[in-house]
């Protein structure tokens, strides 16, 4: 069955309609027009512009937090309530802010995706130069490019085949795979994912050497660090925990709420975790949160000259 599309507004046009494409085209043209207009902007105007835009962007979320949102027009499970209509300005603004939320949440994400090109450009420039100037290690840059190009081609062809070709559903099953799917699987699962796992597991080595170097009874702090870490590690070592807890369990009353019951390794760790680790981390995070809030305010209101806020 067919569902009707929501009614057209100034902002929304029927999918595939020429009107939509026209508006999109115009939007792009206007956008670029503005960009080039900005080239002519006098130095004074620049800061004002950037500051203003930054402020507006932040203002949305502040309003979202402070402006009273109308009582729910719809339930958590999607079924509508009768009075979902604004009655006055306050509410219509409220509705507008509410409806805009899913749209706005995507902005940052979309914009930074557009910026990825810059990153790629940086890579291409650095390794391209190595390659063409035959600088030392240019061979490896060549390898990098090969890998990159291969992944891009294979990735997109596979994406196209598994989405937009007739009978593509079959490709779900490896038994129906074509060479592109195998290539994609080899590059992505066989290599990329596998290398992720490999690099992740390298950490184990570093943990060993770091612990070996750092866990010295040098200062009070180091000693505390060491001893807590050891308690926890022991509580994770099955045999030790097993024996220890057994020993504890044999203390009369341990299993029936006696004090002794709290001294099984696992309980000790749990206690440390809940009464020292948790509040300690909470304390740090509280400070960090305040710091982030302050930093956020400084950025939003462009209070810092220089740095990242508009110069």
């Amino acid at each position: 069955m067919l569902f009707a599309q929501v009614e057209k507004t100034f902002w929304a046009e029927g999918s595939g309609s020429s009107a939509l494409w026209l508006k999109i085209l115009m939007a792009v043209v206007v956008g670029f027009g503005l960009t080039f207009a900005m080239l002519k902007l006098p130095a004074r105007g620049r800061r004002t512009l950037v500051v203003g835009i930054t402020f507006l962007a932040g203002l949305y979320w502040v309003l979202y937090y402070l402006w009273p949102q109308p009582l729910p027009g719809r339930l958590a499970n999607g079924s509508p309530l009768p009075h979902g209509q604004p009655r006055d300005l306050v509410e219509s603004v409220g509705f507008w802010i509410k409806d805009a939320q899913p749209v706005v949440s995507d902005f940052a994400n979309i914009l930074s995706s557009f910026l990825l090109g810059l990153g790629v450009f940086s890579i291409i420039r650095i390794h391209g130069r190595k390659l063409f100037r035959r600088q030392p290690d240019w061979g490896f840059s060549a390898v990098l490019f090969l890998a990159m190009i291969a992944m891009v081609i294979v990735g997109y062809v596979n994406y196209y085949q598994t989405r937009y070709t007739p009978g593509s559903s079959k490709l779900e099953l490896p038994s129906n795979w074509g060479s592109w799917q195998f290539a994609n699987d080899l590059l992505f699962n066989g290599l990329l994912q596998q290398m992720d796992a490999a690099m992740f597991s390298v950490i184990a080595f570093y943990i060993l050497s770091a612990a070996y170097r750092a866990f010295r009874i040098r200062s009070v702090e180091a000693t505390i660090l060491l001893s807590t870490a050891l308690i926890v590690i022991f509580s994770l070592m099955g045999i030790v925990a097993y024996e220890w807890n057994n020993a504890v369990a044999h203390i009369p009353g341990a299993t029936t709420g006696g004090i002794a019951g709290n001294f099984s390794l696992t309980e000790i760790y749990k206690w440390i975790n809940q009464n020292v680790q948790t509040p300690a981390i909470r304390g740090i995070d509280f400070g960090v949160g305040i710091g982030a809030l302050a930093m956020g305010l400084r950025l939003w209101l462009s209070l810092e000259r220089g740095g990242a806020s508009a110069a």
């Binding site: 046009e13 962007a57 910026l115 596998q194 590690i233 004090i259």
Partner: protein
């Protein structure tokens, strides 16, 4: 030894793994080779995912909308999304000596949005934490040190148990609150710690931090090691034993 796609895939995976591990001994050409493969693939995949996982759904589809298909409602296209393209591309002015300021427009938007959100989420994030840190500090019963153990207590008994703060709980709560407060106190910057109390507070704060860190370190070790063990299993068992020796 079984020659098939899986063997090839695993073999490559193993060689790559060894390649990356080889850096542990020292930086060498073999590592460099795999490092660059890794980078190349990662960037390549980022370029693929850029469209397939981000822009396609969160930008393009919303911009052009969709026509109704069997069982699925269609959506109108919201053309205004198109404006994001030029705005995003403004970032590319960053390399221009004269006009690099234009790159601050998309940056400003991203940062502005983030900053605004801080104000919006702060309370939802820390309010509950503050509230759950508020705990009764003194016992109101000494009938038992810890909470007495009752097999299947009646709800009345449960209320009783919950209504009372047993010394053990009180001690834990005091430790909890003290830890939290002294840690926060440790992060006060604008005070000269002349006052003995403040001094000892922030010192103990630092020590209690170390307890927390030690615990984190210890509990992370198990996971990291099991991941390494898994890699070893991958090399010795899945690849060598099963595919190469074909056992």
């Amino acid at each position: 030894m079984v020659l098939n796609y899986d063997t090839l895939k695993l073999t490559l995976g193993v060689i790559a793994t060894i390649g990356l591990y080889s850096v542990l001994y020292r930086e060498n050409k073999f590592y460099r080779f795999w490092e660059h493969i890794f980078l190349g693939l990662a960037v390549g995949y980022a370029i693929v995912a850029l469209w397939t996982e981000t822009l396609k759904e969160s930008w393009w589809d919303k911009m052009v909308g969709s026509v109704p298909t069997g069982g699925e409602a269609g959506n109108p296209g919201y053309w205004a999304y198109a404006l994001l393209l030029p705005i995003g591309l403004m970032g590319y002015f960053v390399f221009s000596r004269k006009h690099n300021w234009i790159s601050r427009v998309p940056i400003g938007i991203i940062l502005g949005l983030w900053a605004g959100q801080q104000v919006q989420v702060w309370w939802n994030r820390y309010g509950p934490q503050i509230s759950s840190s508020i705990r009764p500090l003194l016992p109101n019963t000494t009938s038992s040190f810890t909470v007495p153990y009752i097999q299947n207590p009646s709800s009345g008994q449960l209320e009783q148990l919950r209504a009372q703060v047993y010394p053990s709980q009180a001690i834990s709560n005091i430790v909890f609150v003290f830890t939290l407060l002294s840690v926060i106190a440790y992060f006060l910057f604008s005070f000269e710690a002349k006052n003995r109390l403040v001094k000892s507070m922030s010192l103990s704060g630092r020590w209690l931090l170390m307890v927390g860190f030690g615990a984190i370190f210890g509990s992370t070790v198990m996971m990291r090691f099991s991941l390494l063990i898994d890699q070893m299993y991958f090399i010795w068992m899945e690849w060598l034993t099963h595919h190469i020796l074909g056992r």
